[in-house]
């Protein structure tokens, strides 16, 4: 695909990162692309959400489903903990001779100086002296849990399907409206800006909007809900342990922030180096016969080796720094795990908490850090999606040629409400020419594409996985990363 792109498109892409790179990939692999800031985040984001209006029933329904499946998933471990408690109780019950009451056994243990075990036993429910594990009860609990999980998965499946339908239909309309608009734009509009810029808006930017919509809607909401649900469950089970677990939130934020900050420079460098290697390759291959006949090969080799080394260094740094995030978070998770295991162990030993609850708690504390990092990484994606949307809106908002033919599709008036807002038409912006070429050792390399709009606002995103080009077409972003 890249082979068909014009130089201008490539330049536009260079500023934004290839759209393909944002397509799919595990969440941590999409970061590390340069993203840029939107101009007016809130109104633009609202307008993007406005695109979904025709799908509001579907979107609303899928949100309800998301909420239900999150709640079900959240209560699962708690109920599973009951099964553990039943098993634990059964083990103790068996050791108490039939006929002795639970209280009697506790008293006997205390008498023997086994105070701690006595506390554990005293706090237990379902102790039936002489009996082993109550399989009937365990089975019932497990069946309930299984039912809950299956229903939760079903809801999640349905939710995913509804959302993807809504998003794709929305993007379909957006694409159609943009194409429709192209046919209604006056010719001078096409001449007023580099072709590659417009092309990039109607292709890469729309792709990016689609991608961001899909991912933020499907993950941001579920992740946020999950975090809330997990925190609620943890507080419910044990406020003390919850406090320990919640300490990891600021720690995670600080650590991710610190690493992110450090990696930022490396990503910028990697992006720049990639561009420099690509330009020397492009130049040498395109001018191949002249490189040969004019004896330029040695010079090209030297230049290439230099830039290739720089890229090697930059991509190593970027990949390494971003690769640190996962093990570090894992370590924080493990610290948390140890703290909960130890404190929980004491609480169980003192009889103030059941073993099953500790187990459930550990599960919750594992499950809430992961969506937390996801929410953080989603912020970048949203930024870049809204920035792309703004560029698409600018095309939609450009004044049409007169006389305006009646829109052919009833719903191509989707964005019509704002069409009158022409104040941000791209024409004045693209005529602004501030030559701030992002990189390049030779001043002229990006002549044709320099001085494009919004350059100064551009930012480079941070965090993990230094992929400079597209990752696998879309390893589902649901790939959870293993901890411990």
């Amino acid at each position: 695909m890249s082979e068909l792109k014009s130089a201008e498109e490539k330049a536009a892409e260079e500023r934004r990162g290839p759209a393909g790179a944002r397509r799919g990939g595990p969440p941590h692999a999409q970061l590390g692309m340069p993203t840029e800031k939107s101009q007016d985040f809130v109104p633009s984001a609202k307008r993007v959400l406005g695109l979904l209006r025709p799908e509001r029933v579907v979107v609303g329904g899928s949100l309800v489903l998301a909420l239900s499946s999150v709640v079900l998933n959240a209560i699962g471990p708690k109920i599973l903990g009951r099964a553990t408690d039943l098993i634990f109780a059964g083990v103790f019950s068996r050791q108490i001779p039939a006929g002795v009451t639970q209280e009697g056994a506790v008293a006997a243990l205390r008498a023997r100086g086994q105070g701690t075990v006595a506390d554990v036993l005293a706090a237990m429910d379902h102790v039936v002296p002489g009996q082993g594990i109550d399989f009937g009860a365990v089975g019932r609990v497990l069946l309930v849990v299984l039912g809950i999980y299956v229903v939760a998965a079903g809801l999640q499946l349905l939710q995913g399907r509804m959302l993807t339908t809504a998003v794709n239909r929305t993007v379909f309309r957006l694409r159609r409206d943009v194409e429709d608009k192209l046919n209604r734009l006056p010719l001078p509009y096409f001449d007023s800006q580099p072709r590659g810029e417009l092309l990039s808006r109607v292709t890469n930017d729309i792709d990016n909007v689609a991608q961001s919509l899909q991912q933020t809607l499907s993950q941001l909401v579920t992740s946020l809900l999950t975090v809330v649900a997990m925190i609620a469950m943890m507080l419910y089970i044990s406020p003390l342990l919850a406090v320990i677990a919640l300490v990891t939130i600021p720690v995670t934020m600080v650590v991710t922030g610190a690493i992110g900050k450090r990696s930022q420079g490396h990503f910028v460098q990697q992006w720049k180096s990639t561009g420099q290697v690509n330009s020397v390759v492009e130049e040498t291959f395109t001018g191949h016969e002249l490189v040969k006949v004019f004896g330029r090969q040695a010079e090209a080799d030297r230049e290439f080796a230099e830039r290739n080394d720089a890229l090697h260094h930059a991509s190593f740094r970027a990949q390494f720094i971003s690769g640190i995030i996962m093990p570090t978070l894992m370590f924080i998770g493990n610290l948390n795990y140890v703290a909960i295991a130890v404190v929980g162990g004491f609480r169980v030993a003192s009889g103030s908490m059941s073993l099953g609850d500790v187990q459930a708690f550990i599960q919750y504390s594992r499950q809430f850090t992961q969506p937390l990092t996801q929410v953080a990484s989603m912020a970048n994606l949203m930024q870049s999606g809204v920035a792309s949307a703004e560029r698409v809106f600018e095309v939609l908002d450009a004044p049409s040629r007169s006389p305006t033919p009646a829109p052919r599709h009833a719903s191509s008036t989707l964005a019509a409400g704002s069409r009158s807002r022409t104040s941000r038409s791209p024409t004045p912006r693209s005529s602004r020419s501030s030559s701030t070429s992002t990189s390049s050792s030779s001043p002229a390399r990006r002549w044709p594409s320099s001085g494009r709009p919004g350059r100064a606002r551009r930012r480079w995103s941070t965090s993990s996985c230094a992929s400079t080009s597209s990752t696998a077409d879309g390893s589902p972003s649901t790939a959870r990363t293993s901890a411990s």
Partner: protein
């Protein structure tokens, strides 16, 4: 392909890779040890009320976590460094291989694909190698270790592992394998949509002029629908993947508790061991899932690797002479002796037994319709490709017997598509001769009729030139390319349609200015304009790769119908223009 490429290029890094393996092993073992410690906290701490043990085991867990994080981060570092080094090495190998190609190999691949092979494709491979070393390597270790630890906790439950692992692998694998073809379809659909938009934007004037809006809208609508449907199919499969994983995970947990409860009840297993077993099973499933998801990257990287290997396995058809013969200094005669050339795979040769001689101090015009083989003929002289039959001689020496640098030093080539390199006007001209003075550069520019506009450019000789020369007009680019050849003061000038973008007056002035400097040189000039041809000492008429006439303008007018046809059509064109 992927394996072969990666294996070859990882060989130099086998030392670090061994360290990486050891570290991944240590990290994985550490993370496998954690659940077992937690299990002991329950069995030996909580269950018997030994708080000291809980504390000690907790410290142990801390220590093990520390080992794990250090090992993993160090392994990540090695993985990143190795992958980046592999990327650099492969990129460099591709670059120098293409550098050795002749125009024949280059054109049979095409420059754009070679560019993306040495950049994007290499990045693909590098990425998958990084993923492999940083994450995938630990999956089998985790799997084996997890199974081992799980079995150590309780052999009686081991069959659960044997059921859950294939179940997860199969179900996720099934979803993924159904997704892969959709990804391909999706890529195609995206390309189609974007191509149509590109065509509409670049051809907007045509669309408007022929009132094709409705046709275009229909065409686009179709592509947009296809795209949306494919995206929906992918989206629905994706929506399936995660719930499946969750169900398998949760069902496994439930099953462990149920069957574990029986073992605990019968006294065969302690409850802490049950908890540990559960953690192991989850870890094993986790690594299966990671490996499966990561494996999605492999098909794509394999395609990339194949494209890279294809380049690396191709060698140039132009081999440097083993015992080079020096070309005579000074003016040389160019002779084509029954020169025949066929592109690889083509049925019929592009040039058939072309023979003519161009003497120093004379100009030979080569004419013929588009596709007659003129450019191919010109390329034979600097060995951009080699004859497949016959010979090309320069000063009596077969060009294949001369050293390439020696040969090129004798030639000033102005190609059909004038290409300038990024840099400045001066840096481009100095490709002709690195030691040329500024005065010599100005002199060449003056002859090439480029002096005026270069003086007007900001910086003059130091004016920046963008890659490909896209920041100057086509005619200016042509004149700069001519000046570049002039700076070299070569014995043989090859102008391939080099005046096509110039107006007739500039063309005439340029040819007049050229005459004194090329007085001793051998000039071969591919031309369209009759005015350029008339003054040539000799005209060679090509038709379908064969010479159908050699002689002066007047002679050919009388004897060569093809020539008459060409001249007439050119004159008709010039009158229109």
């Amino acid at each position: 392909m992927l394996l072969r490429l990666v294996r070859t290029h990882l060989r130099p890094y086998s030392g670090p890779l061994l360290v990486l393996l050891a570290l991944q092993l240590a990290g994985t073992l550490a993370s496998l040890y954690l659940p077992s410690l937690n299990g002991r906290i329950i069995d030996e701490g909580v269950a018997v009320g030994d708080t000291d043990f809980i504390l000690t085991a907790g410290m142990w867990m801390l220590g093990v976590s520390l080992v794990q994080v250090v090992a993993t981060i160090t392994a990540t570092r090695i993985a990143a460094l190795t992958a980046a080094s592999l990327g650099r090495d492969v990129r460099s190998a591709v670059f120098s291989r293409v550098g050795s190609f002749s125009a024949r190999e280059l054109s049979s691949f095409g420059a754009p694909t070679l560019i993306s092979r040495s950049t994007n494709d290499v990045t693909q491979v590098q990425q998958v190698v990084y993923m492999g070393l940083a994450i995938m390597v630990s999956a089998p270790i985790m799997m084996v270790g997890g199974v081992f630890m799980a079995l150590r906790e309780d052999i009686g439950l081991s069959w659960l592992v044997a059921v859950a692992v294939p179940l997860l692998g199969l179900s996720v694998g099934l979803v993924i394998s159904r997704m892969v073809p959709h990804f391909r379809a999706m890529q195609k659909a995206v390309d189609t949509v974007n191509r149509i938009l590109r065509e509409q934007i670049t051809g907007i004037r045509v669309v408007r002029a022929f009132v094709r809006e409705d046709v275009e809208r229909e065409r686009f609508g179709e592509a947009n629908r296809t795209y949306t449907n494919t995206a929906l199919a992918v989206g629905r499969l994706m929506a399936l993947a995660f719930p499946i994983v969750m169900v398998v995970f949760n069902a496994s947990t439930v099953a462990v508790l149920w069957f574990g409860a029986m073992r605990v009840d019968s006294g065969a297993m302690k409850i802490g061991a049950l908890t540990a077993f559960m953690s192991y099973l989850i870890q094993i499933l986790m690594s299966v899932m990671m490996a499966t998801f990561m494996s999605m990257m492999i098909p794509r990287a394999t395609v990339s690797a194949g494209r890279i290997v294809e380049v690396l396995d191709t060698s140039s058809s132009v081999r440097p002479a083993e015992a080079p013969v020096a070309l005579p200094a000074g003016p040389v005669e160019l002779e084509l002796r029954a020169a025949t050339f066929a592109y690889p795979g083509a049925d019929s040769p592009v040039l058939r037994e072309v023979s003519f001689t161009a003497r120093p101090g004379t100009t030979t015009a080569v004419v013929g319709s588009t596709g007659a083989g003129k450019t191919t003929l010109v390329g034979l002289v600097p060995r951009l490709h080699d004859v497949t039959g016959g010979a090309v001689l320069l000063g009596g020496v077969d060009v294949r017997d001369a050293a390439l640098e020696d040969l090129w030093q004798h030639i000033g080539l102005v190609p059909q598509r004038p290409y300038l390199f990024s840099g400045t006007v001066a840096s481009n001209l100095r490709h002709g001769d690195a030691d040329a003075t500024d005065d010599e550069l100005w002199e060449a520019l003056r002859i090439a009729q480029a002096e005026d506009f270069v003086r007007e450019m900001p910086g003059g000789l130091d004016a920046p030139i963008a890659q490909g020369g896209t920041n100057v007009s086509g005619g200016q680019r042509q004149r700069l390319a001519i000046a570049r050849a002039l700076v070299r003061r070569p014995a043989v000038y090859l102008f391939d349609d080099a005046f096509s973008a110039l107006d007739v007056a500039t063309d005439a002035r340029l040819r007049a200015a050229l005459r004194p400097v090329t007085r001793e040189a051998t000039v071969v000039l591919v031309a369209q304009r009759v005015s350029s041809i008339i003054h040539a000492d000799q005209v060679v008429v090509l038709e379908d790769g064969a010479v159908v006439g050699v002689g002066s303008h007047e002679e050919l007018l009388g004897s060569c119908p093809t020539y008459v046809e060409i001249v007439e059509s050119q004159q008709a064109m010039e009158e229109v223009a």
